[in-house]
């Protein structure tokens, strides 16, 4: 068997499915975004950039983009901070710390939809878990999911709880990879705990942070199970996210033009982010070596 044929035998199965469900759909969705099929019409007609004009005129899309950016910032930064804090507290392996790690990591493993089912009760006004225990320390009832000023923050809190333990694992691995000699040298120089944290730990964890940041960011743009389960994008659009907007237009409103066009916008945003993040990751890794 010539080696050329052999290579293709190895690559074809994986490549076939990648072409079918990653590359082809990217091209197809771009193509489709230039056509519009009116209700009752047999075939779609070419409309140029009309679908894009229609998408950008849709205030709901703008709201979804804005919400998603707020949600990304408000979820990613706190989850990384909490993950890092937990890792610092729990990095040594003791019985108690291993148990605590398992507790913090467990939410990562459960389906987001199961977490959402439980958190509907956590957030239920007055009798729910949060209000019930907050009342014991004298804090009055809050409409966590029903108040449009608060609902998005409630979704962020759920995501932080769900993911911080996952990021903690990467930070523990990163912390354990830092050589003892750095700290010994710093201690000889009389550096305090916080000085060591600031000038040794944080810079050396740069690659870990870059990596975790990318995973966390992809996560906030590709998971909307909790939105579907808990708020359906409401109240008054305050928890509508881009993928939920796509889902709703495809699945509920049957607005194929908006669903395809907003998919194209998302793919372009993710591609742009990929180029940016590959460069950041490379820089982070160079720093280490």
């Amino acid at each position: 068997m010539s080696s050329g044929i052999k290579v293709w035998l190895y690559l074809t199965p994986a490549l076939f499915f990648l072409v079918m469900f990653t590359y082809y759909p990217m091209v197809q969705v771009l193509w489709d975004s230039f056509f519009f099929k009116a209700y009752g019409q047999e075939t779609a007609s070419f409309v140029g950039f009309d679908n894009y004009a229609r998408l950008f005129r849709d205030p709901e899309f703008g709201v979804a983009v804005k919400n998603n950016i707020i949600y990304a910032v408000g979820t990613v930064i706190p989850s990384l901070a909490v993950g890092f804090g937990l890792a610092l507290a729990l990095m040594e392996s003791t019985r108690f710390k291993n148990f605590a790690r398992a507790i913090f990591f467990f939410p990562t493993l459960v389906p987001l939809i199961a977490a959402a089912a439980l958190w509907i009760f956590v957030y239920f006004p007055n009798i729910g878990l949060l209000d019930y225990y907050l009342a014991k320390i004298g804090i009055g009832s809050t409409n966590w999911l029903g108040d449009s000023d608060i609902a998005l923050f409630s979704m962020m809190l759920l995501s932080i709880w769900k993911n911080a333990g996952f990021y903690m694992l990467f930070y523990i691995a990163g912390l354990q990879g830092i050589g003892e000699e750095y700290y010994e040298a710093a201690e000889l120089e009389g550096a305090s705990y916080f000085q060591r944290l600031r000038y040794i730990t944080l810079p050396l964890l740069g690659p870990t942070t870059a990596f975790v940041f990318i995973i966390a960011l992809i996560h906030v743009f590709t998971y909307v199970d909790h939105v579907i389960m808990m708020t359906k994008g409401g109240p008054i659009g305050s928890t509508n996210l881009v993928l939920y907007y796509i889902f709703q237009n495809a699945h509920e409103f049957n607005d194929a033009a908006k669903a395809t066009t907003s998919t194209v916008v998302s793919v372009i945003a993710l591609l742009a982010f990929s180029f940016f993040s590959i460069r950041t990751m490379e820089r982070g890794i160079h720093y280490e070596s």
Partner: protein
């Protein structure tokens, strides 16, 4: 070890108390789920949120939950989906990883980057065109359609390629001298040595697809083809409408039980697998 603070006894005690308190708050939703699922119905109302088990436990919520949804069918469908995906993935990633780790061919780097693209353009973003493709193939409302977009995995290919690259070529050379063909080399030399990576990938893959919701929700219409997450969502929505929190807790518990058991038994393996998944 590393950057640690030397603590006096009171400081160590304070640390222990604070971490314990955060741990309890963090596990609050799960504690509530367990307690509420055993709570008698009459206990509903104002005291529903209490996690203090001051009542005679009952299985009534579980009985009602078990009757309100076809959990056996949901479990079977979910098992078919996760192990269907995993078995195809193991074939596609092993072959591709072997090519990228051991063979030389034109456009190798370009093709490798093309593979990696799937790490960024993840399937949930492409639900709209992928659904169109599968409908076009006459596969809508089938479990195959739930699985198909995941049959190739950039992440698995990458993980296994790194592992194959770390295995010295001497082992294969020896096997070639003994008259092994490429399949025997893979089967008896490379794959056994890559076992930790394969186990890690399998755990991450099974958990990810067990938990998947949006895609099966879009693909499946027939109730008898739903997966656990989709079934749980409609079950919980109905129970929520009736404000039957004990029922939601029991239903969620039924869905999460295998996970809780597996995690308790193989905690280290789970943690290591997810940690491994990030080491690039």
């Amino acid at each position: 070890m590393a950057n640690t603070r030397k603590r006096s006894f009171p400081a160590a005690l304070a640390f222990f108390v604070i971490i314990s308190a955060i741990t309890i708050i963090w596990s609050g939703p799960f504690l509530w789920m367990v307690v509420a699922s055993f709570k008698p119905q009459t206990f509903g109302g104002l005291d529903m949120a209490s996690v203090v088990p001051n009542f005679m436990p009952t299985l009534a919520n579980y009985e009602l939950a078990w009757m309100s949804a076809d959990f056996v069918g949901l479990y079977i469908n979910t098992l078919i989906v996760v192990f269907g995906i995993l078995s195809v993935q193991l074939v596609t990633i092993t072959l591709a990883a072997y090519a990228f780790a051991r063979l030389e061919f034109p456009f190798k780097t370009f093709l490798f980057y093309l593979f990696l693209l799937q790490l960024m353009i993840v399937p949930p973003i492409l639900i709209v065109p992928n659904l169109k493709t599968l409908v076009g193939l006459g596969l809508s409302d089938t479990l195959v359609a739930v699985m198909a977009p995941y049959f190739a995995s950039a992440f698995g290919t990458f993980l296994l390629r790194q592992t194959f690259k770390s295995i010295p070529r001497d082992f294969e050379d020896a096997a070639v001298i003994d008259g092994c063909n490429w399949f025997q080399i893979l089967r008896y030399v490379l794959l056994p040595l890559a076992k930790p990576a394969l186990v890690a990938f399998s755990i991450v893959s099974v958990v990810a697809h067990w938990n998947e919701f949006l895609w099966p929700l879009m693909v499946i219409d027939s109730p008898d083809k739903m997966t656990l997450t989709v079934g749980l969502a409609s079950f919980a929505r109905a129970a929520e409408g009736a404000a039957d929190w004990g029922l939601i807790a029991a239903g969620t518990m039924i869905v999460m039980l295998p996970l809780i058991i597996a995690f308790t038994l193989f905690q280290k393996q789970f943690v290591n697998s997810f940690m491994f998944s990030g080491i690039k």
